[in-house]
């Protein structure tokens, strides 16, 4: 008579066991087999992130075809500036060119927007970095009417 309430414990134990079983089965079913191979994560996630397509083709891809511009820039002040820094992301252009399909022609950047972005006089720019007061230097003139962006020095 004294231990009749022990039934409650058995019931509780049964529920707990069932719960554990569900957990174990669900984990075995739903967790990828290689989870935890390199750490506490799903290794396939790394491949998924790597599979992302690029937008910027990279300097070597540009130089493969446009060696004339590379040569022109070799002696110029802008030699260390990557092509896509001014011309924008052109991976589609580069792949289309190497596939032989018709490639979208890149848009020529507007000098007045582009040059100003880096060379406008502003506080905080490094001491030796070439800057100009745009209004005083050029008025409303477009930078490109005097400077050639690939070799900006006026000769």
């Amino acid at each position: 008579m004294r231990f009749r309430d022990v039934e409650h414990l058995f019931r509780l134990a049964a529920i707990f066991l069932a719960g554990t079983l569900v957990f174990v089965v669900a984990k075995a079913e739903m967790r990828p087999k290689d989870f935890g191979k390199d750490g506490h994560y799903r290794p396939a996630a790394v491949d998924e992130i790597r599979a992302r397509a690029i937008s910027y083709a990279g300097q070597t891809a540009c130089a493969d075809c446009h060696s004339d511009v590379v040569d022109l820039r070799a002696q110029a002040r802008h030699k260390a500036v990557a092509c896509e820094s001014c011309h924008g992301p052109l991976a589609t252009h580069a792949t289309a060119m190497s596939d032989g399909t018709e490639a979208a022609k890149p848009v020529r950047p507007d000098g007045r927007t582009l040059c100003v972005r880096c060379h406008a006089a502003k506080t905080g720019k490094p001491k030796r970095y070439p800057i100009v007061d745009i209004k005083e230097h050029a008025g409303d003139e477009n930078c490109l009417s005097c400077h050639k962006p690939h070799d900006p020095r006026i000769s």
């Binding site: 994560y41 690029i54 990557a82």
Partner: protein, 251 residues
């Protein structure tokens, strides 16, 4: 030729034909079968930021958003640039601004000659002992064998714990997926032998990708010969974004 031999030879031929057919398909299509030559264990990625070269043009911010399809609104940045202004006698209270993360560069401000002003590019520090990966309850964020902290978007439950844990404020919740997002160091690029988009477009070479496991990488020489600092060294995060010429006032 007995039956066993016949089956062996026949089987081999059948197998060979399939392999040859597969190879021929690639030859005909003109695409060499892609072999993954990237070995994660042979790299340990880091990034060098030269504060003294940064002109605050915001090219990195724009390139990052394009390359990684980051939502083009304020507050969602994988990398951004801050402008610090410090009055000469009050180094403890720098004035910091970053309008739209410097996506459009910086407007004019601060009188020349009063105090100092400089730009500090910021991004995920890809910490070796990162707080964000330690707090993730589901194993959705982790550090790869080559030292890049990544997010598994399929596993992320969007609990925001990592956003709070990051001492550098580098994470945000992508409003489209409701999962955590941040800089991947352009993992899809560096594993192909390219540099991250921000490094690619930086016109002054303020950002440099570095592989600490590559003995011929110029980073080793640079780290030896320059005064290098990481952000919040007191947090012991093992940050791998090395800053050259960083002012002590930068947080």
């Amino acid at each position: 030729m007995d039956r066993r031999e016949f089956i062996m030879v026949g089987g081999k031929m059948l197998f060979m034909t399939a392999a040859t057919a597969a190879a021929l398909e690639h030859v005909m299509a003109g695409t060499p079968e892609k072999v993954d030559t990237y070995k994660a264990a042979e790299h340990w990625w880091a990034l060098l930021i030269d504060v003294e070269k940064c002109i605050g043009c915001g090219s990195c911010v724009r390139a990052c958003k394009t390359e990684n399809d980051v939502i083009n609104e304020p507050f969602y940045f994988r990398t951004w640039v801050e402008r610090y202004h410090i009055e000469a006698t009050d180094a403890e209270h720098p004035i910091v601004d970053s309008p739209n993360g410097a996506y459009d560069g910086f407007p004019e401000a601060y009188e020349e000659g009063k105090g100092k002003t400089f730009f500090v590019p910021k991004m995920c520090n890809h910490c070796a002992d990162s707080p964000c990966t330690q707090v993730c309850p589901v194993g959705a964020t982790f550090i790869t064998p080559d030292g890049v902290v990544l997010i598994d978007k399929d596993y992320c439950v969007g609990c925001r714990y990592c956003v709070q844990a990051c001492p550098y404020g580098c994470r945000y919740i992508d409003p489209r997926t409701h999962t955590a997002d941040k800089c991947t160091l352009c993992y899809h690029r560096i594993t192909k032998g390219l540099v991250p988009a921000c490094v690619e477009v930086c016109p002054t070479g303020s950002r440099q990708l570095a592989d600490l496991k590559n003995p011929s990488d110029p980073i080793h020489e640079f780290l030896r010969t320059h005064a290098i600092q990481v952000l919040k060294p007191q947090m012991a995060t093992g940050s791998k974004i090395y800053y050259n010429g960083l002012d002590g006032a930068v947080r």
